[in-house]
Each structure stands twice: as structure tokens, then as C-alpha cells.
Amino acid sequence: MGSVSLNTPPTGMPHVPEPDLHQVLTPEGHRRPDHDLDPWLEDLTPRRLAELHRDMVVIRRLDTECTHLQRQGELALWPPLLGQEAAQVGSAAALHAEDFVFPSYRENGVAYLRGVDPLGLVRLWRGSTYAGWDPREVNLAAQQIIIGAQSLHAVGHAMGQQRDASTAVTLAYFGDGATSQGDVNEAMVFAASFHAPVVFLCQNNQWAISEPVSLQARRHIADRPWGFGIPAMRVDGNDVLAVMAATRRALERARNGGGPTFIEAVTYRMGPHTTADDPTRYRSAEEVEAWRAKDPIDRVEAHLAALLPEASPDGDAGPGLTVEAVREESGRAADEMAARLRAGLAEITDPGPEALFEHVYAEPHHELERQREHYRLYLAQFDGEQLDARPREGSR
């Protein structure tokens, strides 16, 4: 008998490539045949590939800008998505406009692609508001901080769509850590029992703050949904094509009455959990470097480089489309977004004290009205003084 310590977690699951991991684009940019996913990529053109590249570049830029803005004291906090661009762009690109999405707090790239103004995102992380967008306008629920809670909302929402006989379906995002939560497991029970038109998209970025996925799951996360009666697929989350194809497939399945599907997008959070975190305390530089070699944007560029010489002269990519041109166009889009973001920052003003009392209830609430009136009268005593010029706690 070998000596097995009960306290030692397994040393982590092997990463790519694995026989059960669906991959369409290798880290070197080679297209691999995939029986399940290829049918969902038949409409893919170099131009579409260039758009996916642009979206990933813009989102990476949004992420680095916001990380910098946090460092400059402009944002209270930011949860970086660096490294997860393909998982977010690929899945969001598969959605129809009328589909509804329930995100966690890290899907800032998804929010951008759903049409959320970057300033809306900034306002949110600046602490001016909890509402960076109107969920009904962009078909994206408010970001969720509680781990996994939104998975149940997605199932309930899908049950509503089912009752409405809608062709729209619901997608829920969560991370590997969330799969340990009761809510995600209950969501799978409800989704399976009611055959809800929902897709669970788990971005397994390997780390739940400092806890490795090996502490959350002794088997691949995608193994788990099968036990609930939900088919699951494990895809390379740094492969934008694989994620897009898998999500399209799952969404269409839901749309056609096939019920729920679970996708595990195997990716990596290159940065910290949030800007308040120090990942060097819990993971090695070697691990980070190994994942850097699987960068989602680099592999699309490598693929385009191999593809375009043949495609550009007369293919649907249009004349003159080169990898340099794609890179330039994506960079320009990112520059424009960043300039808008920086310029808009100055326009954001702090909400007034009245905002405290708004929208707590949909209908009048006399006790809260009393508190609001009392605070208004209290402030009125300062008559003419700027509210924010008053001494704050600790400065008296």
C-alpha cells in the first residue's frame, strides 16, 4: 500500500492537449478537425476571424485600461479577465441579440459585446452605482457578486422563456469555483428536471482566488453535469473558435427544445482575481508562462498569418487583408475605445445623497420616506456648504 495523505489535494488535472478536450485552433494556430464543432464553423470567413480578433483585442485593452485606472485611483476595484478573451468573445459571439445572459462580475468583455457602454462598466467599478446598464436594453442581467447565485436566475429565466414559447434562450456564466456552490448544483437539478432552455458556461480559469481547481473538483468539471442528466462539453477556452462553435451548438440545442447544456471552457486567469489580489503568493511563474504560450489572441494571429496569403487576393476576406492589416485595425478599434473611456471619465460625477433612497422599493415606503426627509432636513442645516466638503470620518 502506498502512503496516501488525505490532506493532499490531487496535483491538478493535466491541461491541453487531452483526448477529451475539444480544440479547433491549436496554440500554434493550426486548424484541427473536430467532428462535433466543425459543422458550427462552416460560415467562418477570414473577415469574421478578423472581427473576433478585433473584439478580443478591444476587450484586452478595456481590461488593461481599467486595471490601470484602478491603479491610478479612478476605480475602486477591477476583476481582470486577461487571458479569458477567447472564452468571453467566443461565447458572446454565439448569442442572438434576443438571448438573455446572466453574468458573474468578471464578464466585462461579454458586457461590452452585449452593447454595454464602457463608461457604464467604469461607473459600476468606480462605486457610483450598482447599475452600469439597463438589463432589458442589452439582455444582460446585472453583474453578480455572489458566487454562482446567477445560475439559478438563468434557469428561472429560461423557464419563463419556455412558458412564453420564445425562441430566445438563456446563458449563464460562472467560474470553476462556483461549481462547488449549492446554487450551481441546484441550478443543474432544476434545469434538467424542467428541461429548461439554458446553457451553463463555466470558464474554468484554474483559480478561485488562491484555490486551485483541483481543490474544487477531483474530476473534470465537465464530468459533473452528466450526473444531473445534462450533456457537457469540455473545450479549449483559449480557442475562440472552439468556444464559439460549442456555444452555438448548445444554444441551438436549447432553442430547439433540447434542454440544458454545460460547457467547460478550459482557460486561465493570467492576472490576479481582482486588483486587490497578489497571485504570486499562490502560483508559480512557470505555470503562468506555460499558459502565456496558449494566448488566445496570438493563436488567431498565427492562424491568420497562415491563412491570409491564400485568402486575401480573391477570397471573401477582401483584397489586401493581411495579418498586419488585421492587427492594425484591431489596434485602432482598441485605441478608439480607450480614448472614449478616458474622455468619458471626466464626465462621471458622484451621485447625490438622494440616490441612496431611490429604487430600494418599487412602491412608496413611508418609513424610508421618513428617513429620506429627515436626512434632507439634516443636510439643509449645512445651508450652502458643499456636502462633500464636510469632514468625513477620521478627518475630524
Binding site: 438573455f100 436566475h153 428561472g156 449549492g182 429604487h359 422599493y361 418599487a362 412602491e363 424610508l368
Partner: protein, 352 residues
């Protein structure tokens, strides 16, 4: 033909649910055992047959799952009515209630409403095992974004459930389960009324006695017994626990000068403390005596053979009334200024 019928409390709630289901096709009932069985208390009896499985949904046995999917249905424009089978089972769904149900409207700047009704049969007196007799209202009363109500008569059972479902805010609807079989007249044609106002259950001049849900009837019995001794008690039925209708209570206290609040829930941090403090703030100069609470003890709900000691009964409520009246009462021999007794160590010696 009159629309008024003599109904058991539980059946009055059923009638209210039926009316709400008929009035709005977006109303969906969800819960464990509520469909085929009609609920363990039969409150949803017959509704699945009448409205179908998509409107009255038997769910998996998962309270957070029920509450969380109800949030999603509300996101999709539905008005879910969730049944929590027993008070002590609400805790697995607590996160969804306080973090999601209560806060989504605020979080989304008013863009997404949560017109959810959470039905909880609550309180003791039916000889149940553990977790089946609790009074969790203070948790919900303390949570901004929620409204909390509790009916005390069959008519209110019918009125408040319809008002709760019609409200665009989430409402915790606490059903006094030991009163399910009480009968009373119910006007099934009563107009839909707003949530909020309290009611004077019995007029009086000497003491204001505030209660809600199952204790209202006990308080009315106490008022009757006191009247035989020449004491006039005004009983106020809160109906709404959050927000509290202080207007009615204040007006009453300004007339009587004395306040007793009664509830089954434990005392510390309970709704009675909140009402006593607020009335003291607002009516100090009218008070002849400090407000008094008659409540359950700060203990887990006790086993069935002990529950009659824990749940305030007519005599304990009258003892509280005696206290505010300065009449002889059980507290007379408890010296409020006595220093705390030294704690006994395990070996029986006193600790310094």
C-alpha cells in the same frame, strides 16, 4: 347572492391564490409538494388541476433552487409565488432572499422588479418537531427591499395574499399555521387593497397592545379577560411588519399612554424591540410607563411538550399589561439594579 362565505383561514388563503392566478396569467406558484399533494397544509389544494402544471409547479426539494429560479422568472416578467414548506426550512434560501430577491430592484436602478411573494407557514402551537415552529420575521424585517406581512383572520388571509402578489415589491407572507383551521367570514368580492395599514382589532383606552399573525387572537382573548377586571385594552393588528404603520400605533399610545408588544419570536433584536424604541422616540412625552415586550425567550424553539411555556399566552400577555399599569406583576420581585450574579465555575466554586 352574497360573496361572503364562512371559510377556514387556510381556505381563505387558497381562495386568494385562486383569485390571483385567475387575474394574472403571469402568476406562477412554485414549491415542494404544492401540486399533486396540494401542499402539506393543503393551501394549494386543487390549484394545479385548475390552472395546470406550468402555473402551479411542483419543484425539486431545494429551497435555494426554488427561490433562485423564482428570481429568474421575475426577471422574465413573471410574478412567482413561492411556498416554503415550514419556517425553519427558509434558511437554505436565505442568501437568495436577502442578496437577490431584496436587492435586485436597487441593484438595477429600478430597471428590474422583483414581484415575488414568499409564503411561509410560521410559528408554533401545532406540536411539531424541530424546525417546524419558528418565527424568523426579524431577519426579513431587517432586510431592506423586502416587505413583510402577516394576516390574523381569514378575511386578511384572503386580502393580504392578493395584495402581496399584486405588489411590485417582494413580499414575505407569514401564515400563522396554528390558525389555519380558524373559521370566519370572507368577502370574496372584497376590492384589492394596498399593503401597509394596520388595523384596530379591538378599541380600548388604558393600554395599547400590539401584535400580529397568530398572537392577535390571543391578545383579543387577553383584552376580553382584562375587560372583566375593568381594564380597557386596545389591540392593534400590525398586518404589515415591514414597514410598520406607526401612525395607528402612535395615535393609540398618545391616548392610552401605555404600550405592550407581543410576539412569539425571541426577544433580542426582535420586532418588539424596534416598535418599543420607535414609539419611545416619537411618543416619549405621552408615555406613562416604559413600553414592555412579551415575547418568546432567547432560545431555540423548544420541543412540543414545552412550547406552551415559550409562546406567550393570555396570562403572560396580561402580566405585561399589569407591568405597564403599575399593577402587581411577575417582575416586581426581580430587582433591575441587582448586580449580575457571579458565574459558577465547573467545580462549583464562584469565579472572581
Amino acid at each position: 347572492m352574497s360573496a361572503t362565505q364562512d371559510l377556514a383561514f387556510g381556505k381563505a388563503i387558497t381562495a386568494g391564490l385562486r383569485a390571483a392566478l385567475a387575474a394574472d396569467e403571469k402568476v406562477v406558484l412554485m414549491g415542494e409538494d404544492i401540486g399533486t399533494l396540494g401542499g402539506v397544509f393543503r393551501i394549494t389544494d386543487g390549484l394545479m388541476e385548475e390552472f395546470g402544471r406550468d402555473r402551479v409547479v411542483d419543484t425539486p426539494l431545494a429551497e435555494s433552487g426554488i427561490m433562485g429560479t423564482a428570481v429568474g422568472l421575475a426577471y422574465a416578467g413573471y410574478r412567482p409565488v413561492v411556498e416554503i414548506q415550514f419556517d425553519g426550512f427558509v434558511y437554505p434560501s436565505f442568501d437568495q432572499i436577502v442578496s437577490q430577491v431584496a436587492k435586485t430592484h436597487f441593484r438595477t436602478g429600478g430597471a428590474v422588479r422583483m414581484p415575488l411573494t414568499i409564503r411561509i407557514p410560521f410559528g408554533g402551537g401545532i406540536g411539531s418537531p424541530e424546525h417546524h415552529s419558528e418565527s424568523p420575521e426579524a431577519y426579513f424585517v431587517h432586510t431592506a427591499g423586502l416587505r413583510v406581512v402577516s394576516p390574523s383572520t381569514p378575511q386578511e388571509g384572503f386580502d393580504l395574499i392578493r395584495a402581496a402578489i399584486a405588489s411590485d415589491d417582494p413580499v414575505v407572507y407569514l401564515e400563522p399555521k396554528r390558525r389555519y383551521h380558524d373559521r370566519g367570514p370572507v368577502d370574496l368580492a372584497a376590492p384589492l387593497r394596498p399593503l401597509g395599514p394596520a388595523a384596530t382589532a379591538a378599541p380600548g383606552t388604558d393600554v395599547t397592545l400590539v401584535a400580529y399573525g397568530p398572537l392577535v387572537r390571543t391578545c383579543l382573548q387577553a383584552a376580553e379577560a382584562a375587560a372583566a377586571e375593568g381594564i380597557s385594552i386596545e389591540v392593534i393588528d400590525l398586518r404589515s411588519l415591514a414597514p410598520v404603520d406607526y401612525g395607528l400605533i402612535e395615535a393609540s399610545v398618545r391616548r392610552t399612554g401605555r404600550l405592550v408588544v407581543a410576539h412569539e419570536a425571541g426577544r433580542t433584536g426582535g420586532l418588539g424591540a424596534e416598535i418599543a424604541a420607535t414609539v419611545t422616540e416619537r411618543c416619549f412625552h405621552w408615555l406613562e410607563h416604559a413600553p414592555v415586550r412579551v415575547t418568546g425567550f432567547d432560545i431555540p424553539y423548544p420541543p412540543a411538550k414545552l412550547e406552551h411555556h415559550h409562546v406567550p399566552d393570555l396570562d403572560r400577555i396580561l402580566d405585561g399589561v399589569d407591568w405597564v399599569l403599575g399593577r402587581p406583576n411577575s417582575l416586581d420581585s426581580l430587582d433591575p439594579f441587582a448586580p449580575p450574579r457571579p458565574l459558577a465555575a465547573a467545580d462549583g466554586t464562584e469565579r472572581a
